[in-house]
Point group: D2
Chain length 301, copies 4
């Protein structure tokens, strides 16, 4: 029924939905880990078969989710711990060998606060490619160094181009080994907002992100490995209404439900999002936490 259309960019939430409904999905492996001291919960969802992919509504691959309730709280030491965890997972997904060349893409609209996560992450990265190209690795004062470049492509309303077109052009021209695509995501539940990071080796899926990318960024579309890193910063307005009504609707017949939902969810809600009022402070902190995680992964290499 209609609730199935509830939108989430988090594999974790799709998994939870199935658990709620007591449905088991074949081809999907779940691993959970909880670090009590740091209060970080790590869930790994591995979609291993075409069947699992179909059931989960997302491509085969690994989806790692870090949940840390204090992520949206200003505590520098705690954020450093999250950056370290992030770096650890990145290095597992992309064995950062000597002289890796990586392009980090900051997706989203820098002029809409909850969508500015990606652009803000890129602005705090240690960019090295131009220095290495000009003066060689030894100029970095190390035996070897990774070559990092960064791009903020903007959104379609600003550029008239699909994000995929811009990035594919730049990838073809500069030939990085791997692309990291950082994006603000939509969650199903407001409880998840700004305290969850999803890292996946499947890139960015079509229809995900605050602005709903029409085309995904993946090895298939870009020709190089794409790691997607996302934080849910909004919930779709239609989702929040549906979700709030779910229990109430349980008292109704299935046919009545559908009617109610169609009547009640104004179409304009689908172009609106829900986000916390202090989103400016949260995005500032989270983008710094993620760029530090990337910097660590690239530098400790």
């Amino acid at each position: 029924m209609a609730l199935g259309r509830i939108r989430t960019d988090l594999a974790l939430e799709t998994k939870e939905k199935f658990e709620e409904d007591n449905v088991e999905i074949r081809g999907v492996i779940i691993e959970e880990d909880y670090n009590e001291e740091k209060d970080i919960r790590t869930t790994t969802v591995k979609i291993e078969t075409e069947n699992g992919a179909k059931a989960m509504g997302r491509p085969q691959g690994v989806y790692i989710t870090l949940e840390a309730p204090n992520m949206s709280v200003p505590d520098e030491d705690y954020h450093r711990e999250i950056s370290k965890e992030l770096a650890k997972h990145i290095k597992k997904l992309v064995p950062v060998e000597k002289e890796l060349t990586a392009l980090v893409v900051g997706l989203g609209n820098r002029d809409v606060t909850p969508d500015a996560l990606g652009p803000d992450v890129v602005s705090n990265l240690h960019i090295t490619r131009h220095v290495i190209q000009e003066y060689g690795v030894q100029s970095m004062g190390k035996e070897y160094a990774n070559s990092i470049s960064g791009l903020v492509p903007g959104v379609m309303a600003q550029t008239g181009m699909e994000t995929l077109e811009i990035i594919r052009g730049v990838v073809d021209e500069t030939k990085p080994d791997v692309v990291f695509a950082v994006d603000a995501l939509a969650a199903r539940s407001t409880k998840r907002l700004n305290r969850t990071i999803q890292i996946t080796d499947t890139g960015i899926n079509p229809g995900s992100g605050v602005g709903n990318h029409r085309n995904g960024l993946s090895e298939e579309t870009l020709g190089v490995k794409v790691i997607g890193i996302g934080v849910p910063t909004v919930v779709d307005a239609a989702t929040i209404v549906q979700d709030s009504m779910a229990h109430l609707l349980d008292t109704l017949e299935e046919s009545e439900k559908k009617e109610f939902l169609e009547e009640m969810i104004s179409p304009s809600l689908h172009s609106m999002f829900v986000t916390p009022k202090d989103v400016d402070e949260t995005i500032k902190r989270l983008s710094y936490t993620i760029s530090e995680g990337l910097n660590m992964a690239f530098e400790q290499a």
Copy 2:
């Protein structure tokens, strides 16, 4: 019942709520005007008695609302018409005489897109006070000129001070004849967003605005006349859920309603807002339309 708590900063929406419920309020006069050619609807709500104020939940005074469906659309000529209408109403509320001194205050958080309306309006104003103070009115190349100053106080999380404290200090020091307070508002309905301007001679009420001002800005608190100019740019997340459920709830008993609402509206929803995805473009256009309206009012004087 609980729905009464639905939050709106628009007198117009409170009026409509009463009309829905077929309640007539004494002490409140409504005038409506529709300009078909320009497609601008003007509603004037005059709260004339203490009784009317109590019923409407807002102070006695005049609340003018311009509704223009195309306000959120990029059409320069149309926006000029709205600026003109706005200037007309401002000059009715504040007879702009020769040598008026006015302080325009841009309320809200410039770092949260739908709350940046006020700061953006101030950045497009023609500020004249310092020139007149230094070189005299004749330096403006006119027989007389109004003395306009502007202030963007920031929000409490950034300053640690109430907006009222900052503005009262500046008003005491610079002694303007009138304060214009421009703010992003919360509407009850998403249909109202970014296509409505409210102008009132009652200033800014406590609890209004995206960030919920704790203290109002009014002649009572500032000692000078305060004109409030607001555009609804968000709907409270709790409101949108309540509203969506209203019809559904009508099938229930009153006592059940209350229970449902309390269960269903997560407390965190009260610190969240709903806003359109293209809010950046909308705020840019609307703030320009309003600052042009103010510039016209001050210059044609």
Copy 3:
């Protein structure tokens, strides 16, 4: 001698330098026009031979310069006139035929005020490509419409990539008919700042712009016609010192001159620029004037 190295991105200033020295250059044609009513001076420098190009230190092509003393003054009507002039020249250089596809690139660093001209121009453009791609030309409500896209690539310190690499990638992918590259330029004289627009069919030359592009953008490097549009917003700090000393140095012997210059121009000066204190207001106005010029050229087509 050393003064020859004085840096300017304006063909007009190079021409003037030759005139000062009473040198005539073959292969270079100068046309001047002065519109007294509008107080706009238009100088067209045509470099027609390889010899002329060598002497002028820039590629063969047409360089049109609009000089308008009031360009840095806030007068909307006057700025509209400049936009119209700009549109006229653009349409002469690029016969805007039906269904032109153009990519407008905003060069420079949006975080350094005098270098933000290009990015600011792109943010005020009417972007149409995505609408035409999705819904067809008829959706624009016109018989035909030009397909306009925009890109703000950032600067090398932010991206680790050459601007040329990024733009070449995007051009290869999206195949526009023509690229417009908008950039903040360096002038030789502070008198020229923010009151001059240069339009050229040679694109952007290596070493030009506030940030000194290492590689030019031209038909040769991009494979499509490139129109460069620039406004001088800074003077190199070394240039201003050299220029100020020029007269004083005239009293010295040639050998003494060189010694003095070498001693006096601190190497660090070459990484510094001179710009007016009110550069924020100026850039805001000028970028709007230029984007309006581009919008006019594309829409009146």
Copy 4:
């Protein structure tokens, strides 16, 4: 002679000028300290008499200057050392006792990159006043806590008001024990840019700062102690030219000098400044270093 008018906001540079000329000033005490390990040079200039104040062209008081060549280089650990030094000096000038209430003012224009230092510092401060006012000191999880507020008043071209008017109003209303005024300064020498911090108990002097404050901020004008914290981020364009010519002029007669200078320094140069091209990165780092210094001073209290 004219060179005496060379503008600097650094007491240290005025002192050096006197040393160059072998002039000793009575009533001025100099203390120097060099921390070799950290490569931080600390110079304390104490102006103790009216005579000394007259000679130095600045009020009686203490001027502490931290010089750290690597201050403009991205090295987090090094910046932490500078923050610590800054905190140490702040706590010497303002014995931060229990329950101090401080207002930190970020002077300058946030839209002009080298002038954005003050506004950027305020945006990274830990603001506590509103929390303490609302929930009491115990809510901070400490036995006692300082009450910190912050204000970004904007510049006169944006507000039409003198900075002094705005701050005096806010100080009268909120009654802090002490005001910290953070500002971008003008140095005489480009060598000093972005590697020097001046801390003084005399506040901000008239005519100082990038935008030349017309009225100073001091205990005399505000009624509470004012600590000025400044970093030179620009050199006046006129100064750089004068300075470059100084040696050359030494070969001329005194009367010739004056004539040359008057002829050569274009009046427009006085409204221009010189700053490095990478000023965006530098301001970002320095503002963070200073806000961390302030946060440390307030928190370790």
